[in-house]
Symmetry: C2
Subunit: 274 residues, 2 copies
């Protein structure tokens, strides 16, 4: 199934806009696993088991595996998601961005090695750094547009004199993704939940693209304002929460606590739907 269809189906089936971000930090694991980098995959798998009927997607962040030499655990984790939640798409958060020949290698890594359904990408190097991913039929790619971190302003909020209408850089990225770059309807955008008015702005420019919205939960984004700004019946929003769910409890009940937190966030998001 194509990524976008898969996303719509998961949204429908689980009644959810919530994406659980898998950013495992061994030092924050419950006592029985704490500090044990060989059990990263196991920790995440228990979170998946507890939330598989509550989410629109899972988003493993590859850095948290790579720092611990745990690529094999990431492979097995994604295979586990396939088994227990075959209807839930996996977005590999990697934010790659490189020239065409290298992008081809990264696309193989994301889609063939890990079997992800979509990937996050940086648009900084332009269209030929994005195109190789689009050659993987049915796969999705979310371009960084307006990110939720403090430094997101540094470049993304600069106004471009050289483009008609003098858009901000992130608005220009949104236009490119909605228009000329989106060859086969595979693109989406990453827009931080910390800036609901900018989600609204991106939505006006890119009405049909799926939006991946990190920053709810530990990062402090307003879940309700996020949904009001971004929700469209036909273009899913994927609202990510990582730490607030993964580390909802530091005890042995961490998976149940994650489920409760995920249920709460899912309901909060649903209540905000216009």
């Amino acid at each position: 199934m194509k990524f976008l269809e898969m996303l719509r189906a998961a949204q429908e089936r689980n009644g959810s806009m919530l994406c659980v971000g898998l950013d495992p930090e061994p030092r924050r694991f419950p006592a029985a696993l704490r500090g044990d980098a060989t059990r990263i995959g196991e920790f995440c798998a228990r979170i998946v088991d507890a939330t598989a009927d509550l989410v629109i997607a899972y988003k493993p962040q590859i850095a948290y595996f790579a720092a611990h030499r745990a690529e094999d655990q990431l492979e097995r984790l994604i295979a586990h998601i396939r088994k227990v939640a075959p209807h839930v798409p996996v977005i590999l958060d990697a934010k790659r961005g490189d020239i065409g020949a290298t992008a081809e290698q990264y696309a193989i890594e994301a889609f063939e090695r890990y079997g992800a359904d979509a990937v996050t990408l940086s648009p900084f190097m332009g269209f030929d750094s994005v195109e190789p991913y689009l050659k993987h039929e049915g796969k999705g790619a979310f371009l960084l547009c307006r990110t939720s971190n403090p430094g997101g302003d540094d470049l993304q909020n600069q106004r471009l004199a050289s483009i008609e209408g003098s858009p901000l850089l992130y608005e220009h990225v949104a236009r490119l993704a909605q228009g000329p770059w989106n060859l086969n309807g595979q693109l989406g955008l990453v827009v931080g939940a910390t800036y609901p008015n900018e989600i609204e702005r991106v939505r006006a420019i890119a009405p049909t693209l799926p939006l991946l919205i990190p920053g709810v939960g530990a990062q402090g984004g307003d879940a309700v304002a996020t949904v009001r700004a971004g929700w469209r019946p036909d273009a899913p929003i994927v609202v990510n929460s990582s730490r607030a769910i993964l580390y909802a409890s530091s005890g042995d009940d961490y998976a149940q606590a994650a489920r409760r937190e995920a249920e709460k966030t899912r309901a909060l998001l649903a209540s905000a739907r216009p």
Copy 2:
């Protein structure tokens, strides 16, 4: 030793501005190794053995290892470089760019796991996506500024209305790297060899930063014009060639052929020094 000192020392010792990019593609290997992803590290190690006295740096591109599940081979390759060429710095070409907490993980991957001396980064997410790397004392970080690929124009060449003097986006990045972002003198810039006049422009803005300049060789950049535009006595330029050297011969003499090509390129670069 700090990265910048290491770079200067290697430049001096090997009389070189040439960086050999390690972008191994098994399908392009000589017949005895062709298509064998378990011998990626071995192929690269033979290139290193043949060129260790000719280069200012090595630049392994992580995507070419990750696509083949060959992170362990990359670890061993960098350890091999340490052994046969302890004076030559290793720049891990990864072009990472993510929020602070994730950047910390990527920095651990690059500097602790792989033991690289420097890394390439994307500036798209702003200063707090760069800062965690700078906390690793003595390590270097090259920010993408003006890249050598066709799509490099798409964002990097946009003129910014909101900044004094209306710089292009890549000029703005160069200013940030030369100035406020360069807390401890660890930053450098990536500027493609395909645009010598833009190297000149970056040099005017960032006179003291090391420049990593890909695009010579297979990508067609003009080596002589590159050196004329970028060379400074105190701020090394690191001129990268990958494919032209790695695949100089498709026969069993590939390492010797790589050496000849590296010698030729080193001499060409040296001859262009003002």
